[in-house]
Symmetry: C2
């Protein structure tokens, strides 16, 4: 389709570029979890403004619907300034996607406690996952819905990270099923259903609305426990999961 082949021109020899020490730590590629911390606070630096602008523009109009001039204008910079910090527009999308994917994987790993009862383990995972999505709706939107604008290799890397996320949830579902606490026939289908239910939060939820992210997350914990046919579901409902 619409060719994104860097305009097909011969790539001229590039000036050497600083390889690290910037706010995202691009040397060791990207520090996971930094997006959520870094983006809001770094609105004062040019690089931070570029990143937040890109996220907002991509979230609103999509990758292909946003021009580099849009991002630059939104960040109050010339469009050439963007190319001081990023080699291409595509790299901007890739870094946003990577940071988000790693951040969510890191968050899930931090809360995953295989020694807990499956229902509590799943509840913790969902609470973290939904909370994360609810707090960063725009960045999640970009990293989820602009996936196909990445190159094949970029998609491969991103998919690898996501399959680690999937593995965590799958392990929890299997554990619950094997212990007879979850009633699940097809674990893969159940995982897809659960995670797609959660991810859509980024499409409609307004972080500054009436319901705070934590309350929403609790609500979704209740929904998911019901979906897996968890016996503790009713108990959880009663003791304040919000359902």
């Amino acid at each position: 389709m619409r060719s994104d082949k860097t305009t097909g021109r011969a790539a001229p020899p590039r000036r050497r570029r600083k390889e690290s020490s910037d706010i995202l730590g691009f040397a060791k590629e990207i520090d996971a979890g930094l997006l959520s911390i870094v983006f809001p606070e770094q609105k004062e630096t040019s690089l931070g403004r570029l990143l937040t602008s890109a996220v907002e523009c991509f979230a609103q109009n999509g990758y292909h619907g946003t021009s580099t001039r849009d991002i630059a204008r939104h960040a109050k910079l010339s469009s050439a300034a963007l190319y001081v910090h990023f080699k291409t527009k595509n790299e901007l999308l890739y870094k946003i996607t990577l940071v988000m994917a790693r951040s969510m994987l890191q968050d899930l790993r931090n809360v995953d406690k295989p020694e807990l009862p499956p229902a509590e383990r799943l509840a913790a995972l969902i609470r973290s996952y939904v909370g994360c999505i609810a707090r960063m709706t725009m960045a999640v939107r970009v990293s989820t819905f602009e996936f196909q604008a990445l190159t094949r290799e970029q998609r491969r890397v991103t998919t690898a990270i996501r399959s680690e996320v999937n593995a965590i949830v799958t392990a929890c579902l299997e554990q619950g099923r094997d212990r007879g606490q979850f009633r699940i026939v097809d674990v893969d289908l159940m995982r897809i259903a659960i995670m797609s239910l959660c991810i859509t939060v980024c499409q409609w939820y307004k972080p500054n609305g009436r319901m705070p992210p934590e309350e929403l997350a609790d609500h979704y914990v209740g929904l998911v426990l019901r979906m897996v046919g968890c016996q503790d579901g009713a108990a959880m409902d009663a003791k304040g999961a919000g359902l």
Copy 2:
């Protein structure tokens, strides 16, 4: 953002254009439900090829990621031929969106039986909704995820149709709750969760894979009945909802 204002040129006086009698019945705007019937069979006519090509291109690369030349090439026509059938690229998207929105509303209305017990009523709605999404993943993808590429007025019309869909589901949920058969605290949140769960089917489901659309729909019926805390849920599980 990226301006889509018909390139800002003065619109020259246009030749009069045929106002109806084509396959989509554009006279009375669009016939609901025709997309699903018409698109596959009409691959031989130029208009049909243009529509299916547009759906496929938009679904794969997004509205902004698809050029009119892409669509025309895909339909084996010159790019100017597109403008014989559609005034603008945007009109193409709008018609696809409208046809889908009306088609899904029509389908839901056809299966909605308020006199049935709430669980059965909801099951029928979900079965129809998911089945429809599973059978037309690409068109649903376009009409769902390219919403923001529509003009404000086009969005208004589309939203009006969708809120009728929402009203049907909401009515069913309230009925079930009021009769004490569904355990729902926040009906709006439950509806959003249910419908976003269903709609994401268009993102991952392959209609020609191992699982036929009907089986998937049954699976989702089971999930949704569990979500609403339906007492019949267990019974349904047993008698073959697939869970």
